[in-house]
């Protein structure tokens, strides 16, 4: 299996520089990093990729079984590291990818030796005193929303997504051409993401970690950022002025500055 093609791996930046892996979350693909990654190319060898099932990865490599837990996604990260023989890398993970990075760094701290966790949440669903921000019913509602929004995509986009570009007339329709995805895979990724609970893994992180917490993040409220900070030994927390869940898109300068200050 060609991992570079499977995960649509793109390497740029300084050859021989310290590797820096940018990893996207649920809902999008590596284009999430287009305003941030270039700022590190002078010093680092930047590695961007799509998880199997997202962006321009090879959908045929998707297996519902493997990707039913975040461990399957962590394996994607480690596969990419092994393929490119990366060691001592900085791993920058957004949203659910922050937890995927935590899992990968616990397994192979030699390969991922620094974690930048952008808008992380170890568990989205409330549990006793723990406030994740959502209930189980909310997550089912999300899956319904995905269904409503993929209705048009499934028939029109599927051929394009599946790599049959023999219908170029569809190009006009593809206004949402970034972050495109197969509807069934998106639903499963939603469940895997929002039903996971990685609170117990945070204490096992043995590498330096930075948590970037936005203000007004509907997905990862401030108390979640503080929770992650307390749970990862020796971690640093930066509270950002940026609002929303995607500071890498809405406030790239602030995001870049926070990461550079930490590194």
């Amino acid at each position: 299996m060609d991992i570079v093609a499977r995960n649509n791996v793109k390497v740029s930046g300084r050859r021989g520089g310290r590797p820096m892996i940018f990893s996207h979350g649920f809902g999008c693909d590596q284009s999430m990093w287009r305003y941030v990654a270039p700022a590190f190319e002078d010093e680092y060898e930047t590695v961007l990729f799509d998880y199997v099932g997202a962006g321009r990865s090879e959908l045929s490599a998707y297996s519902a079984e493997r990707y039913t837990s975040l461990d399957g996604y962590a394996q994607d990260v480690l596969d990419v590291c092994e393929e490119l023989d990366l060691t001592g890398a900085v791993f920058v993970g957004h949203s659910v990818s922050a937890m995927i990075g935590v899992l990968a760094a616990i397994r192979e701290p030699r390969r991922l030796s620094t974690l930048i966790l952008v808008a992380p949440s170890p568990r989205y669903i409330d549990d006793g005193d723990y406030v994740g921000g959502f209930s189980g019913a909310d997550i089912e509602e999300l899956v319904d929303s995905l269904d409503s929004n993929y209705l048009g995509w499934s028939s029109q986009m599927a051929p394009v997504v599946m790599g049959n570009p023999d219908r170029p007339e569809l190009g006009e329709e593809l206004t949402n051409s970034f972050c495109r995805t197969d509807p069934e895979i998106a639903k499963q990724f939603a469940r895997t993401t929002f039903l996971s609970d990685n609170r117990d893994d945070l204490g096992k992180v043995a590498v330096p970690a930075l948590i970037l917490q936005c203000s007004h993040d509907a997905l990862a409220p401030p108390q979640v950022g503080h929770y992650v900070h307390r749970a990862i030994p020796g971690s640093e927390l930066t509270l950002m002025r940026a609002t929303g869940h995607c500071p890498n898109l809405s406030a790239p300068e602030e995001t870049i500055a926070a990461i550079k200050a930490f590194l």
Partner: protein
């Protein structure tokens, strides 16, 4: 005078523009980059029941969305807006002032900061209750269809598996292997079957092909496999077993016919094997000698399940160490590739090339070549059984 006219026109124009905005046939919302609502039109207020002062400067677009849609907004649409400056036909539910929900479609554009105003998101809102209801029905219909399809495929696969034994029995002094590959994608039950079982004085092999596919063919295939196993003991000649199968098929009044080969292998006191077989409309077995000579075993007989009286013959051959016997369905020889049929010649060449392998190796090689000849999508089911007498 002229100047005042201009001013009047401008005033009127402004009024028209304001009416166009406020009473447009769709709701308008403008928000800051962070989603805070800064402008809203009357149509939008009427649609949702809010007062202007409830929304402007106090509510973010997220707060108007149901929870699932809010996650979708953050994970999908906010990124898309940042990456491509516009999204179209986003289906969400808005939460109204009275707690009810209204299904809408949103179009949004990101307007970059200018000299006179900061970055804004302009959102058009169209109520879509009827359309969304219809879409939901479509979605449910599709989900039901997918579920039925999944069940049908699973049923086909399970049923098919019952037509071939999970593993062939171990036969002392003889190496045997069976292989099966459904046509195309394998989502329909085919009519091929094979079986091997112990009989009073040796071993019996049955391999056949029921005409057609699908449920009707499956019923006949199942019947055939069990009829052969349960053949009466009073006359155990292969031709008698097939004649009995013919009677069973006619009695069942099925309109399907089948072709089959039935063989028995006996081992004598000096450990030599003797093979007796009968063909019911089926192609002969292929015999490959140690020296590499290829010959056919069997005398043509009548197809089963059509006529009351059938003509069936028993043919007996002695097998020597190193001999290979191959039974197959017409999916092999009649496998259709771009250049015509797979044919007996290609089959002979494939078997000769594989003859030093064990029975499973020979069956595998033949199967691989037939499937590859048809570019991986065989036009018919393929069943192969190979016997080899080790040297």
């Amino acid at each position: 005078m002229a100047a005042r006219d201009d001013a009047q026109v401008t005033g009127e124009t402004l009024e028209i523009l304001e009416d166009l905005y406020e009473d447009a046939p769709c709701g308008y919302l403008s928000t800051r980059g962070d989603g805070m609502i800064i402008r809203v039109n009357r149509t939008m207020l009427a649609l949702t029941g809010y007062r202007r002062q409830d929304l402007v400067g106090r509510t973010r677009i997220h707060d108007l969305l149901a929870v699932g849609d809010r996650i979708l907004y953050e994970t999908h649409f906010a990124p898309l807006l940042a990456l491509q400056a516009g999204v179209k036909e986003i289906a969400v539910d808005l939460r109204c002032a009275d707690g009810s929900r209204v299904p809408v479609l949103l179009n949004a554009v990101m307007k970059e900061q200018t000299r006179t105003r900061p970055e804004e998101i302009w959102i058009g809102v169209v109520a879509a209750s009827d359309r969304r209801g219809y879409e939901r029905e479509l979605l449910q219909a599709r989900q039901r269809a997918e579920e039925s399809q999944r069940r049908a495929v699973e049923l086909a696969r399970t049923l098919q598996e019952s037509f071939i034994p999970p593993a062939l029995p171990r036969v002392p002094g003889m190496d045997v292997a069976g292989m099966y590959r459904p046509a195309g994608r394998g989502d329909e039950v085919g009519g091929d079957f094979y079986d091997m079982h112990e009989v009073v004085d040796g071993w019996a092999i049955a391999l056949g092909d029921v005409c057609g596919k699908g449920v009707q063919a499956a019923v006949v295939t199942s019947l055939a496999r069990y009829a052969v196993r349960a053949a009466p003991l009073r006359d155990s000649r292969p031709s008698a077993v097939l004649a009995n199968l013919n009677e069973v098929l006619l009695k069942e009044r099925t309109d399907r016919f089948l072709t089959a080969v039935y063989a028995q292998v006996q081992r004598d006191a000096r450990d030599r094997f003797r093979l007796t077989l009968s063909l019911g409309g089926h192609s002969p077995a292929v015999h490959l000698s140690k020296e590499g000579l290829i010959s056919m075993i069997g005398h043509p007989g009548t197809v089963l399940g059509i006529l009351e009286s059938v003509e069936l013959h028993d043919v007996t051959v002695d097998l020597a160490p190193g001999d290979v016997v191959v039974f197959s369905t017409d999916g092999v020889v009649e496998g259709r590739g771009r250049t015509g049929f797979f044919g007996e010649e290609r089959m002979g060449r494939a078997l000769s090339a594989a003859r030093d392998a064990d029975a499973a190796g020979i069956a595998g090689r033949l199967m691989d070549e037939v499937v590859a000849f048809q570019s991986g999508m065989p036009s018919d089911d393929i069943a192969i059984v190979v016997l080899k007498i080790p040297e």
